[in-house]
Symmetry: C2
Subunit: 278 residues, 2 copies
Amino acid sequence: VTDESSPIGIVGLGLIGGSIARDLVRLGVEVVVHDRDGALARETHDPVLRRLRFVDAPVEVMRASLVVIAVPVGAAGEVLRALAPAVTDRHVLVDVGSTKRDIIARAHALGIAARFVGCHPLAGDHRSGWAASRQALFTGAPVSICPAPETGTDAVETALAFWRRLGGCVEIETADAHDARMAYASHLPHAASVALALALGAAGVPPGRLGPGGRDVARLAGGSPVLWRDILLANRDSVIPAIRDFEAALRRIRETVESADLERMETVLAGARDWSRG
Amino acid sequence: VTDESSPIGIVGLGLIGGSIARDLVRLGVEVVVHDRDGALARETHDPVLRRLRFVDAPVEVMRASLVVIAVPVGAAGEVLRALAPAVTDRHVLVDVGSTKRDIIARAHALGIAARFVGCHPLAGDHRSGWAASRQALFTGAPVSICPAPETGTDAVETALAFWRRLGGCVEIETADAHDARMAYASHLPHAASVALALALGAAGVPPGRLGPGGRDVARLAGGSPVLWRDILLANRDSVIPAIRDFEAALRRIRETVESADLERMETVLAGARDWSRG
């Protein structure tokens, strides 16, 4: 449904949407953008922003046939609702959120599941906004594509070609498999980092007192509270058991420290080290 | 007791001892080294190793008046015992371990607390061994110096000058204060990373499936099981309450996810974000 020269629409010019826009501009693609923050549209000094076609309402991006919804998980449903009336068979909508079950259910409820492809590029960091976006963010990054049973094959192929064009390593999986895996691979590390920040804050240890290792573990706690609120709650059915598993592992470590048993302590730590060696 | 041209002794040529040796060689200081692994002494192709004076027994490093014990926490007590009979008023011994109460108690028991200065440079990463050592590792790194009440003022000043010469930012504190702080700033992040690795391992999620954030949180789990066994057990009186605080923070996060309360979830995450902003 799209060829290499077709314009591409983007809603949301943050870390992910902005990085997509940078790559598309570099590839010579016309990019139609809606961003809630009108200030970016008025920014005339940035050479990349100057080459984007800003539109006032989200639905105006539908002049492109491929549209990327690149807003936080908690806002994506509303954007999908705004675009839904304009969806035709020539359109393909993709998103970039960290959870897939919820947004696919929303597309289904809106009657546009055939033209929507849930996507999740695993790229970026705890920062957000256009200022954090960069070129080639997706080069070599894992990208999950989670088609629903009713998603058109051509729509899936368009999404696949789009991410490959940005350098992503695409994997197709179900939304259930994706969300269950991300609960462990992404949402649990975030919760662990937040818990560390809370414990350190309560103990009066500021971030400046951490060594390089502690800083790495605590880094994710600096992420957007609203973005992560919505991710953790959207995937709560998978996140809760993952946190419980982590609590059990932590209790095992604490009980081992309490036991002061050298051999038992080494076995626990060797288990973690062996995992980290793959 | 030492001037800039005096030789300096090092026991243990791992990440920390090796990095100290690299800087001293660069500064033109004669370095007398004992390393348990005789292979490094026979390594003739490495230009830094070639400039070190290797000795066969730990006690032979005492020909230098300043000696750095740079072996893992669990082995430092034995090295201290081996050096103790040779300690005179012209000697200053320092160590580099992550816990200070235990090694200072050991120096006291050996009757050499007046010439021993417990030190802890907060530098390095989860790797270990000479291969992981590097130049300028201590430039800008926080270094704690924990003198005992009986430690000689001249010994403290020698330790201070030594670390400053390597570029460290020195802070003097009691061993109690240091160990309590490190339980939160270093040992707890390590335990959190190990718990994440164990939980991911049990769930069948390999390290390759993590995004950049998850990789950072899980990175410390790759550390040496023996080194960390000894650190966690040496500091267990402070580590256990720190892990309990972390468990409480984690439980709070899990219960908030269970509540599905948007406002409460955002408040918890904002607390962590505010901490990370200092």
